[in-house]
């Protein structure tokens, strides 16, 4: 049994008859701009890493429609439990570039005070939950948060992301199982980009798809063309509304492709087929949506410039500001371990302080093979 | 000098001032903690304040009859000589409140750790608790030192290994027995009286080491001394002959080689006279090797170089070795190897004078033999009184390990061999 792939846009970028969601023009243009800005941000991130100015970067190239289209279906008060490849959501939720980029530099402008590797964001102001590296942990947390909101009679919806690799994690099973049993208001978005670093889908699962796994847990599963932003938006909106009504969770599989390597530490050319890559490049979500906008007469050269170069300029300016911010002080290492700093942490802070005063401690170590 | 200001305390219930009724001390006076200090009158009561810590009064800042506010300085006390100064931040508490096993003697420069680099003040947090690293404690125990009697020079009042090597062993400590017991505070020698002089030099170095060794020996081995006089008339003749025989070899033969051989023979009959007590394993060790130390006086003091394997050397060889040793000692070329491994010691004080002595055992050996001057004296031979030559031998023996009877028998053998030297050749 194979789930039908939901699409709206055809290969020429026209909406299939009767399927156009007819979003307002501003929203359509906003979606386009968000995708362009996200790509520009990703380009800048990798460039900075290659220049050695930041230690690590991880791109969402090719998956802009998949995560922006889905998050777009939420209200501002809805929570996000992202994985680490959904930067467009930050822009959607209007996090300033400086704040995002300060996180890359891990300096005093970073919400997390330079504690985590780049792209492991946390933005409470946007209901964007702190990201961790272990795969899938966000899935059961989303279920739990959903259970809490439901118990309190609140209509918050929780959207969480994972990749195809994430479906093999323990938390995928626990998270979906709990969410379904408790009918939690959760939307599980599995961005199936075909590769878990170097492991392809056919090594990841023997199921016909990721979406079909929803069946085992007793929730609806939807398979959608991840590079068709309108299709993604539509199916996610339905799932969000289901959740908000109290009808429980949904698993959405967006079928997309990881155009870039897994991260700045990976080189996908070593294990991926060139033909496969080229085929997917032709299905680029931004190019497809551009064609759609053109049909709708919502695109122009100036608009393109605003979206692409405009974003690049804003990002460049933000890099300048963010990079110049002061580094975090050593004392910050001992904060936020607990709410109240314990005596042993105070002692260790003093010990380090004294050593730093004497000088020489903490010569640069470490390289960036990740 | 560590001058500490004494401020008029708030004697009670928030008084603001007090009148000095009478001083119980005078400037320059040495005082002990709790001595009467000053009588002060307030509008509530008249109280006698006692001296807060031991020291001497440096200065009285106000006179009897003065009315002074609470908190003003009324006297300055000198808390003690170098090594006993309490740091400023400790000023509030009577810093040297330590009880009498005083690691901070008020004025006892002789007992101070030598050349300590301005050690931090010793403040005992709880009297009786001594700070030291575990290895230091083990060494102290092995050396029989009560840590509580040591003036610590380490940070925060810690006893260091250096402190041990310069400290006096505690009187009560016996090998392997519990350390602690009775200990006396160090005694101070008051300065020379008015108009008379004295010289004081730091008590350290070899002299100090000798002192420590002597103390330990006397307080551990229970000494008894047994004396006998030896008719050496025949020995003198033999020695003359030997001396002439070896003269062209450049070897000066003294009486010592003969005495050493006699002692070895006696030890073979009474082997416990060549023994020691192993305090770590608690074993009585009877040695099958005979290494005799010869106590030698040098410009720097007493050293005891050792002649090894006396039983295996002839009188001539011993004589040569003794001569060589004497030479090297004069030249200061005695090695560590020369000074170790002894099983018995001979001390030769006869050249200076005297009849006999009570020598101190070279601990941990079991006995020491003093050899005294040969004197012309009347002797009884075949019922007649004739001129002869006699020599005293005094042997001090550790009564824990060897009884009087054994010592006496041993001496009889030595005496016999020396009085009839040819007997030694016969075995």
């Amino acid at each position: 049994m194979s789930l039908e792939l939901v699409t709206i846009l055809d290969k020429d970028g026209k909406a299939q008859r009767g399927k156009d969601p007819n979003l307002p023009p501003e929203e359509l243009q906003q979606l386009y701009k968000l995708m362009c800005a996200t790509r520009a941000l990703d380009e800048r991130g990798l460039a900075l890493q290659r220049q050695g100015r930041i230690g690590f970067y991880l791109q969402s190239t090719g998956q802009e429609a998949s995560h922006i289209g889905s998050a777009y279906a939420l209200q501002a008060s809805d929570w996000l439990f992202p994985a680490y490849r959904q930067p467009g959501i930050l822009l959607l939720r209007e996090i300033p570039y400086e704040k995002i980029i300060a996180e890359w530099f891990g300096n005093s402008g970073d919400t997390s005070k330079g504690r985590q590797m780049p792209v492991h964001y946390s933005f409470r102001q946007a209901n964007f939950v702190s990201i961790s590296s272990p795969i899938g942990t966000q899935l059961s947390q989303a279920a739990g948060a959903g259970m809490a909101a439901k118990a309190r009679g609140e209509d918050t919806v929780f959207m969480t992301f994972c990749g195809d690799g994430g479906t093999s994690s323990n938390d995928f099973h626990c998270g979906l199982n709990f969410a379904a049993v408790y009918k939690a208001p959760v939307v599980f978005v599995c961005e199936n980009n075909g590769w878990a670093i170097s492991v392809p889908n056919d090594k990841q699962t023997a199921s016909d798809s990721m979406a079909i796994k929803a069946d085992a847990y007793g929730m609806p599963g939807v398979r959608v063309d991840g590079n068709d932003i309108l299709a993604v938006y539509r199916v996610t909106k339905e799932a969000v509304e289901r959740a908000r009504r109290g009808d429980g969770p949904t698993l959405i599989e967006t079928v997309t492709y990881r155009i870039a390597s897994h991260s700045s530490s990976d080189d996908a050319d070593r294990y991926r087929d060139k033909d496969e890559f080229e085929a997917w490049k032709k299905k680029d979500p931004i190019a497809r949506f551009q064609r759609y906008l053109k049909h709708k007469k919502l695109w122009s050269e100036d608009f393109e410039k605003e979206c692409v170069e405009g974003s690049r300029d804003e990002i460049a300016a933000a890099v300048k500001v963010a990079e110049a911010l002061p580094p975090v002080g050593p004392e910050t290492m001992f904060e936020d371990v607990y709410m109240n700093q314990t005596q042993h942490l105070k002692d260790q802070k003093k010990y380090l302080h004294d050593l730093v005063q004497q000088g020489g401690v903490g010569a640069e170590i470490g390289h960036f093979p990740l | 000098m560590a001058l500490k200001e004494f401020k008029l305390p708030d004697i009670g219930e928030g008084i603001a001032e007090g009148e000095i009724v009478s001083w119980k001390v005078t400037a320059g006076q040495a005082v002990q903690e709790e001595d009467e200090f000053v009588e002060v009158m307030t509008d509530k009561a008249t109280v006698t304040i006692t001296v807060p810590f031991t020291g001497s009064i440096a200065e009285l800042k106000c006179a009897e009859g003065d009315v002074v506010p609470v908190g003003s300085v009324i006297a300055v006390i000198d808390a003690g000589a170098a090594g006993a100064a309490a740091p400023a931040k400790e000023a509030a508490a009577p810093a040297a409140a330590a009880p009498t096993p005083a690691p901070t003697p008020a004025a006892a420069p002789a007992a101070a750790a030598p050349a300590a680099a301005a050690p931090a003040a010793f403040v005992q947090s709880s009297p009786g608790k001594v700070l030291a690293a575990p290895a230091t404690r083990r060494r102290a125990r092995e050396m029989g030192i009560d840590l509580a009697t040591i003036a610590p020079s380490g940070p925060r009042g810690r006893v260091t290994n250096d402190d041990l090597t310069t400290a006096s062993p505690a009187p009560a400590a016996a090998g392997g027995a519990a350390v602690g017991g009775h200990s006396f505070p160090p005694i101070a020698i008051p300065p020379a009286p008015e108009g008379r002089t004295e010289t004081r030099t730091p008590f350290r170095g070899l002299r100090r080491k000798i002192a420590d060794a002597m103390t330990r020996s006397k307080y551990t081995a229970t000494h008894f001394t047994y004396v006998d006089d030896i008719d050496v008339t025949d020995l003198v003749k033999i020695r003359q002959e030997a001396k002439a025989a070896y003269a062209d070899k450049g070897v000066n033969v003294t009486y010592l080689p003969f005495i050493m051989k006699a002692i070895v023979s006696a030890m073979k009959k009474y082997p416990e006279m060549n023994s020691s007590l192993d305090e770590v394993t608690n074993e009585f060790v009877v040695k099958g090797y005979y290494n005799f130390g010869i106590a030698t006086d040098t410009d720097n003091g007493l050293i005891v170089p050792v002649i090894k394997d006396v039983d295996q050397k002839s009188v001539g060889e011993l004589a040569a070795e003794l001569q060589d040793l004497a030479q090297r000692t004069r030249e200061g070329k005695v090695t560590v190897d020369d000074l170790t491994g002894g099983t018995f010691t001979i001390t030769n004080a006869g050249n200076i004078g005297g009849l006999f002595a009570t020598p101190v055992i070279n601990f941990p050996e079991v006995a020491i033999c003093g050899v005294h001057a040969i004197k012309d004296t009347p002797v009884i031979r075949d019922g007649a009184c004739v001129p002869g030559k006699k020599m005293y031998l005094s042997v001090s023996i550790d009564h824990r390990l060897v009884d009087g009877a054994t010592g006496a028998h041993w001496m009889n053998v030595v005496k016999d061999h020396l009085e009839k030297p040819y007997g030694m050749l016969l075995g």
């Binding site: 891990g106 330079g114 961790s132 272990p134 878990a196 070593r270 401690v361 390289h367 | 575990p134 404690r137």
Partner: protein, 338 residues
Amino acid sequence: MTATNPQAGESKTGTKVMTMLEAINDAMKVEMRNDDRVVVFGEDVGKKGGVFGTTMGLHEQFGENRCFDTPLSECGILGAGVGMALYGMRPIAEIQFLDFIYPGFDQIVSEAAKMRYRSGGEYTCPMVIRSPYGGGIRGGHYHSQSSEAYFCHTPGLKVVIPATPADAKGLLISSIRDEDPVMFLEPKAIYRHAKDEVPLGEHTVELGKARIAREGADVTVLCYGAMVPVCEKAADLAAEDGRSVEIVDLRTLVPLDERTILESVKKTGRVVVVYEAPKTGGFGGELSAIIAEKAIEYMEGPIVRVAGFDTPFPYSLEHLYMPDPKRVAAGIEKTFVW
């Protein structure tokens, strides 16, 4: 010794300069040739050859049945590994980063570690779990943890941590041949920096034996993994102050070579225990306790630990978090003056 035709044949003699990465790779190649029960699996170990390259060439050389990629599931990797071991294989399970091992912790602690004991010896689990651990690569919270303490605290497991390429190879081969489950933790910070002569062919290093990395007289430094080169630099600094430092590279944490440790500590009378893991509850505490219990009378000074701080491993402040030569040297000095 020079390598004699290192490319050819089964029995090789001589040595070759290798990085620790290459040495680990070589160990697996040697054992996979030796013993067809040996299999290697984990995330990205096949075609990609591992995210660090430790399994490079194995898939090519030995095929899909002997070296294969798994789904993204530590629990699955380790549980399946236990099953393979029970069935008579010699599985080498790779966990991509030790930080990711927790979903599989149950299989390690509840199953692998207790298998022999609970079955009266009927079932055993000769599995090797290989995983890069430790900081020094700007990996932040989740690519830098030094969590060996959890495994040292689990009876039934052996814990091995090499510090040199030759030891990495020798210890890995011994671990593969060992009949008990072994956590083989690889100090990723020195994967490429550690470079030295490595014996070719079947080179083994006995588990449970420490190595005197440097002889000294005044103070003993106990360390393992990436901290060993740090301690060597610290010893150089201390030598400038006239301190002669003896460095003991533990190599195996469980079972521990107490004898070598105590001999050294009794000789010098001073000890510094260095570990990059968070100080509290770290393995260094165990070492300190053993010394305090069995060699207290030899201690001339305090038993000092130089460790990571009790915070999650930070990204930007990594260089201050990890013990570095100056901090270790300060620890050494503390055993003399405190």
